[in-house]
C-alpha cells in the first residue's frame, strides 16, 4: 500500500507541471511595434500616444500586459538593431509577464519587421520561440509593398531632409521600402503575399486610404495638423487611394484585409498615415472591441 502511495505521489510530482499547464488560463498580452526610423527614445508616448496606449491596454484582462517596442528601424528589417531588438524586447515581455498569447499591433514598416520574424522563424532561435507566442498581428497601414516615396528619397529627387519626419534619411530601411526592393523581398524572403505561403499566424490589415488636411476640417487635426499637411504633399506622388505615405495596394500586399478605414471609422473618415496609429475617428474603439473579443475568447 505504501509502495502504491509512493508511486502515485511520484507520478503526481512528475506530471503536476503538465497538469497545471493544461488547466491554467491563457494570459493575453499586446505589443505595439513602431514604424520606420529610430524610436528608441520616443516610441512610448511619442510614436504611440499615451492615451491611445491606455485605451488599448484597458481592454486587457490584466491592464499591465502590454509592451511598447522601442528599436532602431533605420536599419533593414533583418538587422539585429531592428528585428533582433524587437524580438528581444517581445521575448523579455513574454517571459516577465508570463504571456501565453500575444497580439501584436504594428504600424507601417513595423509590419515588415514582424513579417520578417514570422517568415523566417529558423533564422534565429529567438524568432522560433517568439513565433510560438504570437497569436495574431494587426497590421496598421503596413508598408508591405513599399512606397514610391522611398524611391524619391533614394534617388535624391526629394531632399531627404524633407522626408525625415515621415520615412527618415537615406538609410537601409528607406532603401528596403522602395517598391522594387519590397517586391524582391516579398518574392524571396517574406511570406504572406499573393502566390507565397501564408504566415504562421493571421496578419490582419487595416488600410488608410486618404489624407484630410483642410484647416477647416476637424479631421485634419487628429494626431497633428502639420503632419497631415505634409502627407497631403507626399500624396502627390501616390495613387488616389493612399494615406499620404503608402498606396492602398502596398498596404494590402500581404496578409488579409481586416478593413478599409472608411468602412468602419466614424463618419467614414479616412485615416492618414499619421492617424492610423492613434485614436482618430473611432479607430481605437474598433481595435479595442476586437481585442475585448480576444480577451473573452481566452
Amino acid at each position: 500500500m505504501d509502495l502504491l502511495r509512493l508511486i502515485v505521489c511520484a507520478l503526481l510530482f512528475v506530471f503536476s507541471p503538465l497538469l497545471f499547464a493544461n488547466t491554467s488560463p491563457e494570459n493575453l498580452g499586446i505589443a505595439f511595434v513602431h514604424g520606420t526610423n529610430d524610436h528608441r527614445d520616443d516610441a512610448d508616448g511619442g510614436y504611440w500616444k499615451r492615451d491611445f496606449l491606455d485605451i488599448m491596454s484597458s481592454a486587457l484582462p490584466d491592464n499591465n500586459n502590454y509592451v511598447v517596442i522601442n528599436c532602431d528601424f533605420r536599419q533593414s528589417m533583418w538587422d539585429e538593431a531592428a528585428s533582433g531588438c524587437a524580438a528581444d524586447q517581445l521575448l523579455a515581455f513574454i517571459n516577465r509577464k508570463k504571456i501565453t498569447r500575444l497580439v501584436v499591433y504594428t504600424h507601417s514598416n513595423g509590419g515588415n519587421v514582424i513579417r520578417w520574424i514570422l517568415s523566417n522563424p529558423t533564422y534565429d532561435p529567438r524568432f522560433a520561440t517568439l513565433t510560438q507566442h504570437i497569436s495574431e498581428v494587426i497590421a496598421l497601414a503596413p508598408s508591405s509593398g513599399g512606397t514610391p516615396l522611398a524611391d524619391e528619397v533614394m534617388d535624391g529627387s526629394i531632399f531627404s531632409e524633407s522626408m525625415a519626419w515621415l520615412i527618415g534619411y537615406r538609410n537601409d530601411s528607406v532603401q528596403q521600402q522602395r517598391v522594387g526592393d519590397m517586391a524582391v523581398y516579398n518574392n524571396e524572403l517574406l511570406f504572406g503575399s499573393s502566390g507565397r505561403p501564408s504566415l504562421p499566424v493571421p496578419f490582419r490589415v487595416v488600410i488608410g486610404s486618404d489624407v484630410t488636411s483642410s484647416p477647416f476640417s476637424s479631421a485634419s487635426y487628429c494626431n497633428g495638423y502639420t503632419l497631415n499637411v505634409g502627407l497631403k504633399f507626399t500624396r502627390l506622388y501616390l495613387e488616389d487611394c493612399s494615406d499620404g505615405f503608402l498606396n492602398c495596394e502596398s498596404q494590402s500586399t500581404a496578409g488579409t484585409l481586416w478593413f478599409m478605414d472608411v468602412d468602419k471609422t466614424d463618419d467614414q473618415t479616412p485615416l492618414s498615415h499619421s492617424q492610423s496609429r492613434h485614436h482618430c475617428f473611432g479607430l481605437e474603439r474598433i481595435l479595442r472591441t476586437d481585442l475585448l473579443k480576444e480577451g473573452v475568447s481566452q
Binding site: S76, W78, N120, P121, T122, Y123, D124, P125, A128, T129, T131, Q132, D151, E152, D155, G156, S157, I158, F159, E161, S162, M163, W165, L166, D172, Q175, R178, V179, G180, D181, A183, V184, N187, E188, L189, F191, S193, S194, G195, R196, P197, S198, P200, V201, G224, Y225, T226, L227, V229, G230, K232, F233, T234, L236, Y237
Partner: protein, 392 residues
C-alpha cells in the same frame, strides 16, 4: 507552429530511393557576417491553407517621371520642362552637400504667360506658402502645376540671390496624368553569378509604342556602382540590353537595380522619362543535391546540401496533400535551418503526421528553396512538385 531543435547524426540517413535535384555549381564568397549568425539548428512547421504558389516577382516597371540635373546658373537662365498631361508635380532639390537653400524666387513661363509659383501652382511647398507643414524645408521646392495651365513646354527659372553658379540641383517632373510611360522588363527577378540578364525598354502609350531617339541604361549595384549597358535596337520601338552578372561581392540582402533614361521628340515636343527596377542577385553558395525519406518514417526527409561557403542555411519547402475531391493542395510550410560548413551537409525536415492524416496520398514536396542567411538570398530553388511516395 511547431519548432524543434535537433542535431542530425549523418548515419541516421538511409532510404531506398532519393529525389535527385537538378545539378547546380556552387561558388564560394567572402562572408564577413556569417560567423555572427546563429549556429543552432532550428526547424519549424506551420499549417497553410488556400495557398496558391504562383509567384514570379516584379519584373516590370512603368515610369511617367524624369529627372534633370541642373545648376543654379542654368536655372537663372531658364530650364525647359515638358509635360504630356496637366497637373504635373515638380520638385527641385539640391544635389550634394551645398548649404545654400533651394528656396528661391522661382517663376514659370508658358507660352506668353510669366507667373510666380504662387500663381502657377495649385499645391506649393515653400515656407512662405505653407508655413505649418512638416514637409516644408529650406532645401526643397515642390509644387503641382495648376491643371488649367495644361501640358506642353514650361520654362522654370529662378532669380535667387546668393549661392554659387555651379551649385547643382535635381529637378524632377512627375507627369502623373500622362498616358506615355517608359516600360522596363527584365527576363527574371532573381539572378545568380554567371547568369545573363536581359532588360527590355519600350516607350509606350498603352498598346502603342513610340520610337526612342536617345537611351542610356545601366546596372547599379547596392553601393551605387554603375555599369553602363550596351543597348541594341531590336524593334523600331524596343531596345534590349544584355549583361552577364559576375560580381563576387556579398550584397547581404541588398538588391541591384536597372535604370534607364530616354528622350524622344513626339509631335515637336520632347518626351523624357527615367525608369528604375530592382533585381535580386546572389552567389550560388550552396545547392541541394538530393532528398531522401528516412527509412520507415514516411514523412521524415533528409536533404543533402553541397556547401561552398560556411553560413547559416535554411531549407524552406511546401508539403502538398490530396484533398477529398482528389485535388492537390498546399498543406504545410516547412523550415529547417542550421549552420553548414563547406562540403556535404544534411538538413532534415518533416511533414506533421497530424496534418498529413487529414489528407490522402499522394503527398508532394514543392517550392523547395535553400536560403543563405549570410547573403539573405535564396541560392537554390526547385519548384516542381514531387510525389514523396516515389522517393521512399
Amino acid at each position: 507552429m511547431k519548432p524543434a531543435y535537433f542535431l542530425l547524426p549523418a548515419f541516421l540517413a538511409s532510404s531506398l530511393n532519393a529525389m535527385t535535384l537538378p545539378e547546380s555549381t556552387v561558388r564560394p564568397y567572402e562572408c564577413e557576417t556569417c560567423d555572427a549568425l546563429s549556429h543552432a539548428a532550428v526547424s519549424s512547421n506551420w499549417r497553410i491553407q488556400n495557398t496558391s504558389l504562383q509567384h514570379d516577382g516584379l519584373r516590370q516597371q512603368k515610369s511617367r517621371k524624369y529627372r534633370v540635373v541642373t545648376t543654379r546658373a542654368a536655372l537663372e537662365k531658364g530650364l525647359p520642362l515638358s509635360t504630356r498631361a496637366p497637373a504635373a508635380v515638380v520638385s527641385i532639390a539640391p544635389l550634394g552637400k551645398q548649404t545654400t537653400p533651394v528656396k528661391a524666387n522661382f517663376r514659370i513661363q508658358k507660352n506668353n504667360l510669366d507667373m510666380s509659383l504662387n500663381d502657377a501652382a495649385s499645391l506649393l511647398s515653400q515656407n512662405e506658402a505653407v508655413p505649418d507643414s512638416e514637409f516644408t524645408t529650406q532645401n526643397l521646392a515642390m509644387f503641382q502645376l495648376k491643371p488649367e495651365l495644361g501640358a506642353g513646354k514650361f520654362i522654370l527659372s529662378s532669380k535667387a540671390a546668393g549661392g554659387q553658379a555651379n551649385d547643382r540641383f535635381v529637378v524632377q517632373v512627375l507627369d502623373q496624368g500622362s498616358t506615355t510611360y517608359l516600360h522596363i522588363e527584365t527576363n527574371k527577378s532573381h539572378y545568380q553569378y554567371g547568369d545573363e540578364m536581359t532588360a527590355t525598354f519600350r516607350l509606350q502609350d498603352g498598346a502603342y509604342g513610340y520610337p526612342i531617339d536617345v537611351i542610356t541604361a545601366s546596372v547599379v549595384g547596392p553601393d551605387g556602382q554603375a555599369i553602363p549597358l550596351t543597348l541594341k535596337k531590336e524593334k523600331w520601338d524596343t531596345y534590349v540590353a544584355r549583361i552577364r552578372l559576375t560580381d563576387e561581392k556579398n550584397t547581404h540582402g541588398k538588391n541591384w537595380y536597372v535604370e534607364a533614361d530616354i528622350s524622344t521628340i513626339l509631335n515637336d515636343e520632347e518626351v523624357l522619362r527615367h525608369v528604375h527596377s530592382a533585381i535580386s542577385y546572389a552567389i550560388p553558395s550552396a545547392a541541394i543535391t538530393d532528398i531522401k525519406v528516412q527509412k520507415g518514417r514516411n514523412f521524415d526527409l533528409i536533404a543533402t546540401v553541397d556547401v561552398a561557403t560556411a553560413s547559416r542555411y535554411a531549407l524552406q519547402a511546401v508539403f502538398m496533400g490530396t484533398n477529398s475531391q482528389g485535388k492537390r493542395e498546399a498543406i504545410e510550410s516547412v523550415h529547417s535551418a542550421a549552420w553548414l560548413s563547406p562540403g556535404q551537409s544534411q538538413l532534415n525536415f518533416s511533414l506533421s503526421t497530424e496534418i498529413a492524416n487529414k489528407y490522402k496520398p499522394p503527398y508532394y514536396l514543392a517550392s523547395i528553396t535553400l536560403v543563405d542567411y549570410g547573403q539573405l538570398k535564396p541560392v537554390y530553388e526547385f519548384n516542381k512538385p514531387t510525389d514523396i511516395g516515389s522517393i521512399r
